[in-house]
Symmetry: C2
């Protein structure tokens, strides 16, 4: 996996895993790959993977069975809410960033439509 510079890798891994869940590629109760496999896949150190997982553990998205592995929570509501939060965060950020560039709320839809039309291919 290619990581952006200037953003900690462990955060990018966390984001990656969150997206896997949002996309339904990791489902409730499922075991996720071991820290060592993930470290290999992502060409990153075990400790860095570990750090990402710890945070998701704290947030209840994953739970750990020591000696067995990490598993996606079985709390379906939490998963759904998490996905929605991820989407809402993107929307928040988008609206805020555009405002900081002088693009008003009212023109956002128009701007987006134009952009989508022009980048069709």
């Amino acid at each position: 996996m290619e990581f952006k510079d200037n953003i900690p890798i462990y955060l990018q891994i966390e984001q990656y895993l969150y997206r896997q869940i949002a996309l339904g590629k990791m489902k409730a109760g499922e075991k996720i790959p071991s820290v060592r496999k993930l470290a290999l896949e992502l060409t990153v150190n075990v400790n860095t993977v570990q750090r990402a997982l710890q945070q998701m553990n704290d947030q209840g998205i994953l739970y750990t069975k020591r000696g067995e592995g990490n598993f996606v929570t079985e709390d379906i509501e939490l998963l759904a809410k998490t996905k929605q939060t991820l989407i809402d965060n993107q929307l928040d950020e988008f609206v805020q960033n555009m405002a900081k560039l002088g693009v008003e709320r009212d023109s956002l839809v128009t701007v987006l439509e134009k952009y989508l039309k022009e980048s069709e291919e």
Copy 2:
């Protein structure tokens, strides 16, 4: 100014200055505050400001008169193009991030409209 953790401050300052330009608060040919003033304003070290300015210098947005200060380029076209690029980058990122969360291109406008309506107040 409040800075996000996890993103280098000098990048956030650079972004801040770009936005000032996009908003027209810093106009072509104008002198910008001295590195020491900016450092005070932003409660940050002079070196950190310096680092942000160097990059903008390299990109031609600013030019330096040693002993006098830093000035916004007089190249109006470049300024306009820069603003447009900033906006396009936000759109790019938004579309890509939403895709990574499973929100398709076709539904983006609808999702945005709904979001804007619901967050009115």
